[in-house]
């Protein structure tokens, strides 16, 4: 087990190097740069642009820029934001708690909903039909449209909840924070819970159909017992993989949701940085995102090994 983890971590180093090279090339290939915003202002003259380009080190060859970025990054120096001149690390760190809070609560909500829905749907056909309608609805809703709809209804028409932000500036107690969390977390959780309950239901049904279950059935066990005591444990590895993979996909959902709900997390930092071509922040965001996802992948694999006795020996 430990050897497996060590091997994966060691393998991830060249992987991260390739990813960083890819992202760096991509970001710099995008038209425009950190100085583009300055161009719109007529008071900024070409001399100013040249002066700023030099000051920011953007006049050096790209390869040189990459190597100096890489060298500094490895040593833990993530550079300064091109937009506001503050250390990139500071900018990221101050945003991460908000995103963790949002994603964490959303995943919890989605799991709490998906587990029972998926299991009951696998057992009870009537419930299955009802729940699958909701599941499909959840998957089919465009995130930004759903978010705006919830804002219009719960914050606009009904006035029950704040439409955006993380807390009132003079509030900050638990109730206030929860009130701000509900809408964005629901938006994120909706699609997840729908997808997860479907995966669980399908995984359980598939297991029931397998040959080794026939044997169990022939021993006279009821369908319900089969599902709960045999299908569920067998379905869990696939389900856990899917859940962990989806959690790592949350960066995408967070980018949209945070933008709609003005949630001060790293997703909205990314949107902002992309608009300003803040290379330093973009690199740091994507590298952190990649590391986080790779960590979750590793955990997913470990979970499969731990939960599925058949593959445990294979690793």
């Amino acid at each position: 087990m430990i050897r497996f983890v060590v091997r994966r971590v060691v393998q991830s180093v060249p992987l991260l190097f390739v990813i960083s090279l890819l992202i760096f090339a991509l970001i710099h290939a995008a038209p425009g740069g950190p100085l583009s915003t300055y161009l719109e202002n007529p008071n900024v003259r070409p001399e100013d642009i040249e002066r700023l380009r030099k000051a920011m080190g953007l006049d050096r060859p790209l390869g040189f820029q990459y190597l100096s970025w890489l060298g500094a990054f490895v040593r833990g120096d993530w550079g300064f934001s091109y937009a506001d001149g503050r250390p990139v690390l500071d900018r990221l760190i101050e945003r991460i708690p908000a995103t963790l809070e949002l994603v964490g609560v959303a995943c919890l909500m989605a799991l709490i909903a998906a587990l029972p829905i998926g299991i009951i749907a696998a057992i009870n056909r009537k419930f299955d039909r009802v729940s699958s309608v909701f599941a499909v609805a959840g998957i089919s809703l465009p995130v930004f449209w759903f978010g705006l709809l919830l804002q219009l209804i719960f914050a606009g028409a009904l006035g029950w909840l704040p439409s955006s932000g993380r807390e009132s500036f003079d509030g900050g107690d638990i109730a206030d924070k929860l009130a701000h969390l509900i809408l964005p977390a629901t938006v994120l959780a909706a699609a997840l819970s729908a997808a997860w309950s479907r995966y669980l239901r399908r995984a359980m049904r598939d297991t029931v159909a397998r040959p080794f279950m026939r044997a169990a059935r022939s021993r006279g066990l009821t369908e319900r017992t089969l599902l709960l005591h045999h299908a569920l444990p067998n379905a869990l590895p696939t389900f856990v993989t899917v859940v962990l993979l989806d959690v790592s996909m949350m960066a995408s959902g967070a980018v949209v949701t945070e933008s709609i709900f003005a949630w001060p997390g790293i997703g909205s930092l990314f949107t902002e940085a992309l608009g300003k071509r803040d290379y330093a922040v973009l690199m740091a965001f994507l590298m952190c995102g990649s590391v986080a996802v790779m960590g979750l992948n590793l955990i997913a694999d470990l979970a499969v090994h731990a939960l599925d006795p058949r593959t445990r020996d294979a690793a």
Binding site: A30, P31, G32, G33, S36, T37, L39, E40, N41, P42, N43, V44, R45, P46, D48, R51, A55, F80, D84, G85, R86, E94, R95, A98, M109, I112, A113, P116, I117, F134, L148, Q151, L152, A155, G156, G159, W160, L161, P162, S163, S164, G165, R166, S168, F169, G171, A175, D176, L178, A179, I182, I260, A262, W263, P264, S268, L269, E272, G275, K276
Partner: protein
Amino acid sequence: MKRALLLSMLAVAACGKDRPRTSSAGGTDLLTIGYDREPDTMNRYATHILEDIESCVVEGLVTNDEKMNVVPVLALEVPTTENGGVTLRRDGGMDVTWKLRPGVKWHDGVSHTSADVKFTVDAINKGDWKPESVDGFDRISSVDTPDSLTAVVHYKEVYAPYRLQFVRGTLPKHILDGKNIDVASEYNRKPLGTGPYRVVEWKTGEYILLEGVPNYWRGAEFPKIKRLLFKFLPNTTTRINQLKSGEVQLVALVPWDKVRELRGLPNVRLNTVVGNGYEHVSLNEKHFPPFAELTVRRAMAHAIDRNLIVNTLLDSLVTVVNGPIQPLSNAYEKDVATYPYDPARARALLDSAGWKPAADGIRMKDGQRLAFTMITQSGFAIRENVSQALQKQFRDVGIDASIRLIDGTSISSVWFKGDFDAMLHWWQSGADPEITLFFAADRTPPAGRNVNYFRDDSLTTMLYASDRTANETDRIALLKQAQRRVAMLVPELPLYNTSKVDAVPSRLQGFTGNPTNAGPFWNVWQWQLTAK
């Protein structure tokens, strides 16, 4: 199950639900502003976006009022040739004497003096930090401070826009002297100013909270509103929804297509000022040579039904304009050549110039099709709509315009390289009526913003002469002459004035709006919220 969970969370939240509203909607001490973006820095000289929040804290020596006049703030008066504040030197240079308002103190109690003016110029000209622009400053050779309230600024040459040199204020010498201003995050996050407010809290990604200072120089009764809360809401729909729900009370620069939704809201007043920018189609004659033909440009101007576009797509919120300097400016020339909507005339002009319709209806001459690509910025519903309306109107006279949308960051690098045929856009413009940058023959990118790549020697001469004229009346006469010439030659197609619509609480007194980059917060010290 999920619904039950949601309901229980709603129940938990119910006790806190009124908070976001009661905190600001009824009182007179707090004004909550929905702001479209977070500032990069609060240093007015380093930011490259509008300085609305900064201007509540850091005052300029002058500012622009709602009529675009330059009015003194920390200066006692605006120096001119008439009042002796501006003198021309024999060597072709110019001296500007700024008299500072006595008794003004920085928020830490230190007096604001001419040493701060000198420090500001020196800090910018030393070039060891990254101010956004050194425009004008690089023409200053030195600053003398004969006494603590007098700063004499020596220019190397005559510089007509000198009046707005210190519109962004001064840097506090006693705080920043000897510091690296780029990374002086203490100052850049919470700048020391002389204005009615100071920064209490900047919560990254969420808001900036300003609080009125106790001893503001205009009098202890100012500012009347104790706290200003700027909430960062980049998504327009979110911003408007929060305005509707009362979570924010003021939204500056409401997009025109959103104004309709806000009409009739009981607590909201829509304040409109005519802007000093103008939407237009730039015609890059270097990239698409047919634009170099005056007849083609005139025909295109006649082909556009600007009134229809303004009255439908823009809900009559803006007005049709005929040139680059806007009616609010004292340099505005009304009497210029105009090109009313007249497709028949447009066709006749094109026929006369040898552009004959081919089989597909698109005109051709010497094997060249009158077909070009018009770029505009994506993400603006109005621009996308206007460009498609223009496309149809051009098509009606046999001109084929295809549309390409480019995102905001990329489009500036596209025009900077001159790599487009036509572009629907507007420039951010300052209060000074200088247009040399946009029309002088030698100011094509990168040296300027002449993206039409238009060359007219006589116009260029007029424009440079106006820049070198310190006397305002003489300068205006030259600028009016230049406007007439621009209208006659139509190097670009002017469409409409960019009105600024601000949504403010109906119980807010003293709000005037502002057509310039000084922004609507220019007179925030006198704003007042009346009780409900």
